[in-house]
């Protein structure tokens, strides 16, 4: 984040302004990615009029960065009407898409409307792997063609590569593809549970060995010694800081108008079909609760070596059962990075040992057995 953007974000936080919002226009999708956390059926998406009204409210509330995502945004027939309205309101608009439906004419229109960037999911440089994840034959070719169309219009394109068991060897190939196309590339090993709480998708997350390998790849992290260094002890000021931007300067709105602190934090805080967006942002008790949490308030993390450098996601912690608790996926990342187990990992190990001890005690009750024999 640039210095000025950081400064403006901090100012927004002081003023309690939702600076950065992701709005999912639909959960419908033309791909069926194996790791996806969404229910793709339409359970009553907001109409064109409702979304335009919401965009008006968001502009009035001070939202600056607007990420339009899904589902697949281009499945909405009114997509360009909504995008035009958003740009009319002068949002900094970022798009997230699989780009399968973007051809030359759509790319030109996106450029004309002044979109800031387009993020496109690419899982592998090999069709058999990418298409095996999206479950749509030919999808890699369509997405890569779209990247070329967008680039030819001078647009900023970012490849988003989610790392999972199916594609764990392919991220160097995706990076090479991005370099060939002249676009940025990000890599994220986070797999999110389904929005209904089903955690089966987590089986697709890569193991510790793969994470260790990724975190020691200089092409990805730069200075490995610095990236994997044992973190310095955290001071009191760090413990007074907020866990992340969710609920502080950022939030998420679903296609059904539900407002959440983040796309990865499914705590319902209100619905724009019933309340004004800004009223939910400012007055929701749940949003206020999220906003009140400081690192020192967390259950296990304040005593953890990694507390100052951890990527702990409050939403993933919430989905594990406690928004103030640890996020095991992030504990795993900190461990893979530094080789030092997190306080949560040590606590679980200790609990398992105690459980084992108790079981031994139950097993060794011969006196009771003999007494009743």
């Amino acid at each position: 984040m640039s210095g000025l953007l950081q400064e403006m974000t901090e100012k927004a936080q002081r003023l309690n302004i939702p600076f950065n919002v992701q709005l999912d226009l639909t959960y419908r999708c033309n791909e069926r990615c194996v790791h996806c956390y969404l229910d793709h059926d339409d359970h009553g998406e907001m109409t064109t009029v409702e979304i335009k009204h919401l965009l008006d409210e968001m502009a009035e509330a001070g939202v600056f960065i607007l990420t339009l995502s899904g589902g697949e945004i281009f499945l909405r027939k009114d997509f360009f009407e909504l995008l035009e309205h958003a740009r009319h309101l002068m949002f900094c608009v970022k798009l997230k898409t699989n780009a399968v439906l973007i051809r030359e004419s759509q790319a030109a229109r996106i450029r004309d409307l002044g979109v800031e960037s387009v993020q496109i999911s690419i899982y592998s440089h090999r069709p058999e792997v990418h298409d095996g994840i999206t479950l749509i034959p030919g999808s890699l070719k369509r997405s890569v063609d779209a990247i070329r169309f967008l680039k030819s219009q001078g647009l900023k394109v970012i490849i988003a590569n989610v790392l999972m068991t199916q594609n764990r060897q392919d991220y160097p190939g995706v990076r090479a593809l991005a370099a060939e196309l002249g676009v940025e590339c990000t890599l994220d090993p986070t797999i999110t549970p389904m929005m209904d709480g089903n955690r089966s998708t987590l089986d697709l997350a890569v193991d510790q060995n793969t994470l260790r390998q990724v975190f020691r790849d200089t092409a990805l992290v730069g200075d490995v010694d610095e990236f994997c260094a044992i973190p310095a002890p955290s001071g009191e000021s760090e413990l007074e800081s907020t866990p992340c931007s969710a609920g502080h300067t950022a939030c998420y709105v679903s296609p059904y108008g539900e407002v959440f602190p983040c796309v990865q934090f499914p705590l319902p805080t209100g619905n724009v079909r019933q309340q004004r967006f800004v009223d939910i942002w400012r007055d929701s008790d749940r949003m206020k609760e999220v906003r009140s949490i400081r690192l020192k308030d967390l259950t296990t993390c304040p005593s953890c070596t990694h507390v100052g450098s951890c990527t702990r996601c409050p939403g993933l912690a919430f989905m594990e059962g406690n928004m103030r608790g640890p996020s095991s996926q992030d504990c795993g990342k900190s461990f893979a990075r530094t080789g030092i187990p997190s306080a949560n990992m040590l606590a679980k190990k200790s609990a398992a040992a105690n459980l084992g001890h108790n079981l031994v005690q139950i097993r060794t009750a011969p006196n009771l057995a003999s007494a009743t024999a």
Partner: protein, 110 residues
């Protein structure tokens, strides 16, 4: 002397944060914040009102400044904003059809 007209570049993103105008360049995503005078120019850049009138109506009335000096400074500022592609400037009125956000509220919020 020719008159200068200004229009907001439709490719930028803009929002007022507690009275401080943020503008993100559509060219390279560089973020700018505008001072009070630049914000007035931005908000007044409708493509049809000449700069000297904006200076007379909006700047001289708000700041204690001599009109000729104010116009000179405003022209320099407008040219600087144009060099960053935040504003379009022309010696002819700029038709609204060239501005996607021509009728918008110029990024103003509560």
């Amino acid at each position: 002397m020719s008159r200068l007209y200004m229009a907001r570049n439709p490719k930028v993103a803009a929002r007022s944060l507690d009275g401080e105008m943020m503008i993100m360049s559509g060219r390279d995503s560089t973020l700018f914040t505008l001072n009070k005078t630049a914000t007035i120019l931005w908000q007044s850049a409708d493509g049809t009102t000449p700069l000297d009138e904006i200076v007379k109506r909006r700047i001289c009335s708000e700041f204690e400044v001599e009109p000729t000096e104010a116009l000179h400074d405003a022209e320099n500022l407008a040219r600087e904003l144009a060099s960053h592609e935040i504003l379009q400037i022309s010696e002819e009125p700029i038709p609204p059809r060239n501005t996607v956000a021509g009728e918008s509220r110029a990024g103003e919020s509560q």
